[in-house]
């Protein structure tokens, strides 16, 4: 079971108080985009074994969105951070690098 800390209200709770909403830091392609870009944005998701960035919402608590970094294999939580960013904060990258020296930040992060 995952234990997350909501950066908006500071509550630390287990995952049933939250809801996961899939991969984070997507680039949006809307009207005017090519069909390929739009299809890619709408349907294609990374499903990595290991470090993954996700969007979460504190549904039963403050109701706010945030981002989380975790390992999909070991279920280790590296940390949570604000939803008001399109890149991964440096302190989260440092935490992951400390635990996973072989890991490299994704492009654009």
């Amino acid at each position: 079971m995952l234990i997350l800390t909501c950066p908006n209200c500071g509550v630390t709770a287990e995952e049933t108080e939250f809801h996961a909403h899939g991969e984070a830091h997507l680039t949006r392609f809307g009207p005017g985009a090519s069909d390929d870009d739009f299809e890619n944005y709408l349907f294609m998701r990374d499903n990595p074994k290991g470090v993954h960035f996700e969007r979460w919402r504190h549904v039963y608590g403050c109701g706010k969105w945030f981002h989380a970094a975790r390992d999909t294999v070991t279920l280790e939580m590296f940390g949570t951070y604000t939803a008001q960013t399109s890149t991964v904060p440096q302190d989260i990258i440092d935490k992951i690098a400390e635990r996973r020296p072989e890991w490299h930040p994704p492009e654009g992060a």
Binding site: C9, G10, V11, A13, T16, E17, G61, C62, K64
Partner: protein, 191 residues
Amino acid sequence: MSEPISALNGAAYKDGIVEITALDPVGMITLRGDLGAGYLKKPLKKITGVDMPEVRGIKLNQDQGIAWMSPDELLVICPHADVATHLETLNNAIGSNHAMSVNVSDARAVFRLRGKHIREVLAKLAPVDTSPGAFEPGTIRRSRLAQVPAAFWMVDAETAQLVCFRSVAQYVFDLLKTAAQPGSEVNHYRR
């Protein structure tokens, strides 16, 4: 106007390890906006007599108070009969600023839990650390009770109050009765 009546009309459960009472209608106003703004702080202080609560805090002045619900949301608690005048005070203070206050009294049900086992009755139903030190009077916790959202806080060491949606009042009452049934003490928090 017709008499306001709570969802369970004062139902009570007195046979268990915690006494559970469905309270008569309580006035509640949801307020959303910039919580640091003076045009919210001032009228709130005037209405409730308490200051803006801290993050996850609840400040009570007898039957009035303010609870922190999220970074941009407050729950104002007051006597049911005062809601209309309080709303007017708030709306006058807000004016054209970007904030909103709404009367949610009739959308809610309120329960009071009383007894020395309130911490464990709540812990059986919510994924919340209710141990002494982690959960104390002065903080409100929004979470879930089994399958429905609820918020609860401690009034004193042996009294807790709980707010849920009116539509699930019977469900929550049944949950609480089950969690408080006679002989179900866990005594986990006994020190």
